[in-house]
Symmetry: C2
Subunit: 442 residues, 2 copies
């Protein structure tokens, strides 16, 4: 034990970290999400954690949240690193990636990206400063088929349904429906209405009505906007219910047809898996058609756990090609951290070991190692105990680590291999070259 | 197309990024390494990308390489983020993790950690500023069985042998052998000799001899040190060859016994997989027993691709418990980036799709989607083409993306499903609920 000063380690607010048992569940989630993305043919992309500040601030909006990098002992005259910042989402890096590698990519380009992102904001409930997002986007030159607007909710449904989450709903809408409806109503600034309606779940009908009439809408117009926002449904009846509100415009009709296409395409999913909700606006994002937003049914105030939509041009700030796309982002850490905090993450294992091989005596080490290699080659995660300690102590270690099986190489000259099922306590003869966990004692 | 300024995207020196085809190989490597670590029962740990500067500089040595974080638009009076830096390796975060979660861990604790690390150094060949390391360590309270000193090279052998690398060698040595030998020679400052011998591969025998005699060693002592460094072998003869140099000390004998134990334990590995090389010192690291270092046989000057060793106390700066351990780190990006640069990374796929389902006509979309879901449920990564374009165009897309199979739902009323093997060009009848890629045309 040294005399040096002890730096007391402490968690850093906003930077989550898990014990091995919880981490094993997170790892399972990541594997599951990745497999879901790949099952639809999306290719993996990773980008560096940093971008130049020119890239990060090309759109100008979120610059206050960027962490910039500086070398601890940099020469004050050397500003070579001063233009680097950690990415705050995966969309900006992806836009830069597509522009930079344009000639090396095959379009339509379907990519997934699962990485940490950083935001230098004050930490608060559900808001980390470092967190993992899982994004899928499809981009293409000049136009993107509507097929993908329906494929993305299908993928999210498949992926999130396979995790043990509290009830959630994936809502879908179309910005053309909103904008076309407001235009048909004779509203002068449809975007202002979209922004107001986006606040509906926070400030309620009266709050939104107040903003709208304060902005110059008549009471009748405001009521019509609120009536549209109340339309919610899962199938072919949705466009009819909107049309029944008696407003029409070419853009509205285009939006309703797109929305109908998406709903129709997803008709094979379980009832209620994807719901058209005409109050969803994603007002602060630059979406131009389909928009998505998912939240927990029992805690909508926690905010979106998954969001996205269709945009007219992904990378206009980086390349003089029009690259429209549609994408969706799953807020992995946002979902996972909430479940951890609520004690809902269970079933994780302390270690991935399937079988622990007992070392009967120091001179039998090689034999135990060989059993370990054999079991490993057959696909079992296998530890060989680290010393020739008393057998009871070896079994105790396996028990503490939650290792499901303990293997005993032959103890006497006439003995054979045996395996103990730590769950049932059963112990039985077994052959390391054929055994499997399903085998039963005879 | 907008009129906005275009920010020309460019690579940032030292921050590698791969096209999807290369990324698919990197992902395969990561999966393979992880599976290898888990097959020996090591548990996954991830830590935040940042640590407090107190933690990062607790040992004081590498502080010049740390990237610190600052918020782009922080209030100058607010220094709440000023004490955060990106981790420069995975050992310091792991030490902090073990100290912080000490009561939640089960010892001996075997963990693997595969994460990006950052160093704010000048980029040069083989030195990235952001790179991925794959570390395994075993730590325990008070003492760590020698078993693990042998297990780690076994794991590295298993992991690296499964990747398609140019020839490499994992060298092993023991600091007690070096220190004990120098003590036995009567050298006053054995650590200075270790540091000098560590330069052997760069400056040669004459350079090292000059440093040693300049540091007060006699010519005979210097020659003995160089003779020790020339000992290299794979088995039980190694300790004998050292003893034949005629130097002895208790520490030397202890080191030789440990080295012999490790070599004996690995005797079942292929000849030459692990080689005792008594010139390996890892001079700048604080190892106290076994040390490891691997490099490419045809390019030793590229430096170590894998390194580690045994340390007396992992987390003494964070907790008043003695936590010795043994660990090894695989420089994934170091290896991978070299192979990419040399054009040796081949066989990667543009996308993970196994089968693309053709959409014969717009009104047959649902049918194609159902085939897609069925194939996906059977474990095939499946894309449904994104429009009812001409069949030739759909096949062309599959060809460009390197998708191995194209599926045709029935075209006429009497027709059946068919599948085309894009490699052989063969097309044959197939049932989506039973087909597998091994099926042959009848």
């Amino acid at each position: 034990m040294s005399d040096q000063r002890v730096v007391r380690p402490a968690p850093i607010s906003g930077f989550p970290e898990w014990t091995p048992r919880v981490r094993s569940v997170e790892q399972h989630w990541l594997d599951h999400i990745r497999a879901g993305f790949e099952s639809f043919g999306f290719a993996s992309v990773e980008t560096p954690s940093v971008e130049s500040l020119d890239v990060l601030t090309a759109k100008g909006e979120t610059s206050q949240e960027v962490y910039t990098l500086h070398r601890l002992q940099a020469d004050p005259k050397d500003d070579s690193d001063a233009r680097l910042g950690l990415h705050f989402d995966l969309t900006v890096p992806f836009a830069r990636y597509v522009a930079q590698h344009f000639n090396e990519l095959t379009f339509p380009f379907k990519r997934y990206q699962m990485q940490r992102v950083w935001r230098g904001e004050r930490p608060q409930e559900g808001r980390s400063r470092e967190f993992t997002q899982c994004d899928i986007d499809v981009i293409n030159v000049d136009s993107v088929p509507l097929h993908f607007d329906a494929e993305l909710p299908r993928i999210v449904h498949r992926v999130l349904s396979g995790l043990d989450l509290p009830a959630w709903t994936l809502n879908v809408n179309n910005r053309k429906v909103l904008q076309g409806f407001y235009e048909g109503l004779g509203v002068e600034d449809p975007v202002a209405v979209i922004r107001a309606v986006d606040k509906l779940h926070k400030i309620g009908d009266d709050g939104v009505r107040e903003i709208l009439t304060g902005g110059g809408l008549t009471a009748g117009q405001a009521d019509a906007c609120l009536a549209l926002a109340r339309v919610r449904g899962t199938g072919a009846e949705v466009p009819g219910r909107v049309r029944a509100l008696g407003v029409s415009s070419p853009l509205l009709e285009e939006g309703l047809e797109e929305l109908a296409f998406v709903l129709d395409d997803l008709a094979d999913l379980p009832e209620g898996a994807v719901v058209a909700d005409l109050s969803i606006a994603r007002g602060l994002d630059y979406y131009t058609g389909t928009v998505y937003e998912a939240s927990f049914d029992d805690d909508p105030g926690y905010g979106s756990i998954c969001a996205g939509g269709r945009y007219e041009d992904l990378a206009g700030q980086f390349i003089r090609r029009r690259l429209p796309g549609v994408g969706i982002s799953i807020g992995l850490t946002r979902i996972f951290a909430k479940l951890v905090a609520e004690g809902r993450i269970q079933g994780g294992r302390i270690c991935p070991t399937d079988v622990m091989v007992v070392v009967p005596a120091a001179e039998r080490r090689r034999e135990a190692l060989a059993v370990g290699e054999l079991l490993r080659s057959r696909g079992f995660n296998t530890e060989v105990f680290h010393s020739a300690a008393k057998v009871g102590k070896q079994i105790q270690y396996a028990s503490k680590k939650g290792i499901p099986f303990v293997w005993f190489p032959p103890f006497g000259e006439d003995g054979g291999h045996e395996v103990k099922d730590m769950g049932s306590g059963e112990q039985a003869a077994a052959d390391p070259s054929t055994w499997s966990p399903g085998d039963r004692t005879e």
